[in-house]
């Protein structure tokens, strides 16, 4: 199956959504100077870290290195962002991520349409595109859209592979999903399911060679990631055993749920689906039935469901402030299912008027549901902007005192927020991304050109100590500050605090020190800004 020529309707749909998403991003920039404002709302989702990481790979001075892609997040999205974050404007405003994500989400909407096909595909494609989570993900630097697009694109080919058994179609499906496994962990179970389907189908068809040709390609991404972890961090499972294992850590919850299915909270799953799809949830049983009726349709159904195993880890673990951000990866797959359900429902209704009424019911009720989502989003922005402006004010003051030397600011305390919001390149910020230089400078910052030092307050340090120990092995300045009296005494000879007590900077209570021999006159400007 060749992806037939892109039609005008598809191009139009893509352009429409791309323009919509980019407009939202530009509006955020016009209103708040950056799309990273979303970090201060309930839609918080590591926006700034995804901009900061690619910048540390090439804009980190002498410690620019491949290893800065790190191990918590898969690297493909960050790799794609590398050329864009070199522009100071795109970095500071977050538009680097918005441009990329607008393309991916708009293309995903078109793919939803192409998989379901006909007018039903167009309807669900549009409904997916106007979903508040699609708009939020597309207009910011969230990480999911790239992996999601690759997985949805792969499922387009998986569908036709199941139908026709073509090797070329399978190659495309495997290749795209393999890239998705380098972008999101959610694609990993999908790959295992696809491999299972390949083995099942090709053994049945007597084409064993296809198993040996395509299965190794399928695991190229996962194996590559494990080898990368081994080569860079000396542990092939570093992405799991790391102090903050990120999304990979949720798989322990999922595995435990699969092992003990009675612990799965189905009511919670339905609630999540209802929040995701609104009235379209009614179409899911029809969608499942529709695929089950097709020849080998169960295989595609299994593949679709494999995208959403995270949903098994329902509950407080993944619902951020009651928001579905972590489930966003599986959205298009449920929309495909809903679209198939709509198709089946309408095809079984022979009266034109009823058909129109059913379509109108779903389109209007879903749109109403989304309108409320947009109002909620707007309210959130207004609420979040207070916190954003406060942090921005403190950051601006720090920058005003900054003489161009290093800023010693651990990433555990949120150095990446500061870097992105102030548009300061990572090469000026000395943090864990600068190892081993970071440890060297930490041991005696006064011997280096360090002009600002950010330290957490004692209470916060007690809470975060575990992270510091695991990441820095007692060699970073924060530990030395609290656990080495002589170091601290020496440090205070050279640095003076510029606030009387701790201030909250990016949700962390910190004390900010400036070099006392700095040409700047040290003022106690934080006194009036206590939160």
């Amino acid at each position: 199956m060749k992806m037939r020529k892109v039609l005008f309707k598809e191009k139009f749909l893509f352009m429409l959504f791309f323009a919509l998403y980019l407009s939202v991003a530009l509006w955020l920039v016009a209103e708040y100077q950056t799309t990273v404002i979303l970090e201060f709302t309930k839609f918080a989702h590591d926006n700034s870290a995804h901009l900061y990481i690619p910048a540390t790979v090439i804009e980190n001075g002498k410690t620019s290195k491949f290893a800065n892609f790190g191990t918590v997040w898969l690297f493909l999205y960050h790799l794609a962002l590398v050329p864009l974050v070199t522009s100071g404007y795109l970095y500071r405003t977050g538009l680097a991520g918005s441009i990329l994500n607008s393309i991916f989400v708009a293309a995903t909407a078109v793919l939803v349409y192409k998989i379901v096909q006909d007018k039903y595909g167009l309807i669900v494609g549009i409904l997916f595109g106007i979903n508040i989570y699609s708009v939020v993900h597309a207009s910011s630097s969230y990480m999911i859209p790239m992996g999601q697009f690759l997985a949805v694109f792969s499922s387009f080919y998986v569908y036709y592979y199941i139908k026709r058994g073509s090797g070329r179609i399978l190659t495309k499906a495997v290749f795209l999903l393999m890239f998705s496994t380098l972008a999101r962990y959610e694609a990993w179970p999908m790959m295992f399911v696809l491999v299972g389907l390949i083995i099942y189908n090709e053994l049945k068809r007597g084409r064993n060679w296809r198993i040996s040709s395509h299965v190794p390609l399928a695991f190229f991404g996962i194996t590559g990631w494990i080898v990368y972890n081994w080569a860079i961090f000396g542990n092939p499972l570093e992405f799991i055993t790391h102090p903050s294992p990120g999304a990979s850590g949720y798989y322990f919850i999922i595995i435990s749920k699969i092992v003990k299915p009675w612990t799965i909270d189905f009511i919670e799953i339905v609630r999540i689906l209802l929040k995701m799809l609104g009235p379209l949830i009614l179409l899911l049983p029809f969608g499942i039935w529709g695929y089950l009726k097709e020849k080998n349709g169960w295989q595609f159904l299994l593949f679709l469901f494999s995208s959403s195993v995270l949903i098994l880890a329902e509950g407080p673990h993944l619902l951020i402030n009651d928001h579905l951000l972590y489930y966003y990866f599986s959205f298009p797959f449920f929309f495909i299912l809903a679209g198939n359900g709509l198709k089946l429902l309408i095809k079984n209704i022979n009266r034109r008027n009823v058909e129109i009424a059913v379509i109108l019911f779903f389109v209007l009720s879903y749109s109403m549901y989304q309108v409320s989502g947009f109002f909620e989003f707007h309210d959130e922005l207004i609420r979040g902007s207070h916190s954003y402006y406060h942090n921005k004010y403190i950051s601006d003051e720090i920058v005003r005192k900054w003489d161009g030397g290093y800023i010693l600011y651990s990433s555990i305390l949120g150095s990446y927020y500061f870097s992105v919001i102030e548009g300061i390149k990572p090469k000026y910020i000395m943090d864990e991304y600068d190892s081993p230089l970071y440890e060297r400078i930490s041991s005696s910052p006064w011997h280096y050109n360090v002009s600002i030092v950010v330290v957490p307050d004692r209470e916060t340090y007690k809470k975060l100590r575990g992270y510091f120990v695991k990441l820095c092995h007692k060699t970073c300045y924060v530990q030395l500050y609290y656990e080495n009296e002589s170091w601290r005494a020496e440090f205070l000879n050279y640095y003076k605090p510029i606030s009387n007590s701790s201030v909250k900077l990016y949700n962390v209570p910190v004390i900010i020190y400036i070099r006392s021999d700095s040409s700047e006159h040290v003022t106690q400007f934080f006194e009036s800004t206590k939160i």
Binding site: F66, S166, G167, R168, L170, T171, K172, F175, R207, W209, R210, S212, S213, H214, P216, L217, F220, G224
Partner: protein
């Protein structure tokens, strides 16, 4: 001393990566090229006379008849085809098949001439040049023993010649049942389906293959016959580029040839090819003024097969040294490699290693899926061992003597 070694190693590594970039570029640009359409053969049927040259050297009767059947089945009018069987005076093995062959072609309505070349075997091109004075036809097509040629081949070749090509070449898949022949098959798939279309599209020239090679007679007169090189087919491209003549590549069809019988036969064949390619590279250097510098450079890229093979072997060797050095505590070796391969060179190498191999594998799987050759694709994952050996052969070819080896394709026990 250490620093000089580091600098040298770094330079070698940069050179290897540059060669890899040149080697991988056609693979990445392959998806940009659409397959050419198969021309309607009926419209090319006219009075162009074709000479089919069959230069034989101690050929097994099965090999001879395999080719003969393919020629006899051609859709091109048989009355316009004259078959020239070139046989050495002392070649008693092939001689036994001649009466059958002559009768076979005559029965199909084709003219046949048997030309006895000098009794001492001095290479295929010279044998063909000895036959050329007897050839009067407009187009000369060369086939080897063991070739299976599609029925419409000569029709299509004539069509291309009519459109203005001085010479026509096509895909030659070398197939067999033994393990080494799977790798040869992969090699030929990659060369003919990925590299050649890209070279033809962007450079306009590529080394041609002798099997099914078709040349206009007048062009052969102009260049003084077939070049007497170890790879006369590949060398012919340079001669044509020199006089500004076009070549055409038929990528819609393919000729099947039996793969070399044994691994030793394969090594011998590769040795001859690589030496031939080195001759071509030297010729390019010699003719650089006639060709122009840009054209020389472009042509040189198409003859870089042995150089890319050597670079692959060299980079794997460095990698193996590093692994063994780490395993057995050879700190000097590992620290030397670490110091040489750092910074941008390291990133480039990492990208070429993972990205290059990934795209290479993906594109091979894609192009050969759903074809009759799909079952060969799993061998791509172990082909690096084969390519490692081929790289060593490419290196040894630089120092071995200039000698023609016949490629053994069939054992006499099969008679």
């Amino acid at each position: 001393m250490f620093s000089i070694t580091v600098v040298l190693l770094k330079l070698i590594f940069i050179l290897i990566q540059t060669i890899f970039i040149i080697g991988v570029a056609p693979i990445l640009s392959r998806p940009l090229i659409n397959p050419t359409r198969v021309q309607d053969q009926s419209k090319f049927r006219d009075n162009i006379k074709v000479a089919v040259l069959l230069p034989f050297h101690k050929e097994h009767p099965l090999s001879v008849m395999r080719t003969a059947r393919s020629i006899a089945n051609q859709t091109y009018p048989p009355e316009l085809i004259t078959v020239y069987i070139l046989i050495e005076g002392e070649d008693n093995i092939t001689r036994r098949s001649i009466p059958t062959l002559v009768n076979f072609f005559r029965f199909r309505g084709m003219s046949v001439r048997v030309i006895y070349t000098q009794s001492t075997y001095i290479g295929k091109p010279r044998a063909m040049n000895q036959a050329l004075p007897h050839v009067e036809e407009d187009v000369v097509v060369v086939f080897d023993a063991d070739d299976i040629v599609p029925e419409k081949y000569i029709s299509l070749v004539v069509g291309e010649i009519k459109k203005g090509a001085a010479a026509v070449t096509t895909k030659v898949y070398r197939l067999g049942d033994r393990l080494h022949s799977k790798f040869i098959a992969l090699d030929t798939f990659i060369w003919y389906d990925i590299y050649l279309p890209v070279y033809m599209k962007f450079i306009g020239y590529a080394p041609m293959s002798g099997e099914g090679l078709a040349v206009r007679r007048e062009i052969l007169n102009k260049i003084g016959g077939f070049p007497e090189s170890l790879t006369e087919d590949a060398y012919l491209t340079i001669e044509l580029a020199k006089i500004g003549e076009k070549i055409s590549y038929l990528d819609s069809i393919f000729i099947i040839e039996r793969a070399p019988l044994s691994f030793k036969a394969l090594i011998n064949q590769r040795m001859r090819w690589f030496k031939g390619y080195y001759e071509c590279l030297r010729a390019l250097w010699r003719y650089r003024r006639d060709l122009g510098h840009l054209k020389t450079l472009k042509l040189a890229v198409t003859y870089m097969g042995p150089i890319i093979s050597m670079a692959t072997t060299l980079s794997y060797t460095i990698f193996f040294f590093y692994i063994f050095g780490s395993l057995f505590g050879a700190v000097y070796i590992t620290s030397l490699i670490k110091s040489a391969i750092s910074g941008p060179v390291y990133y480039l190498a990492a990208f070429m290693f993972f990205g290059g191999n990934l795209f290479f594998t993906g594109i091979i799987l894609y192009y050969f899926s759903d074809t009759r050759f799909e079952s060969y694709t799993p061998y791509i994952y172990v082909a690096f061992i084969y390519w490692y050996i081929i790289g060593i052969v490419a290196l040894l070819s630089l120092f071995s003597s200039r000698e023609w080896y016949k490629t053994e394709r069939i054992g006499y026990e099969n008679a």
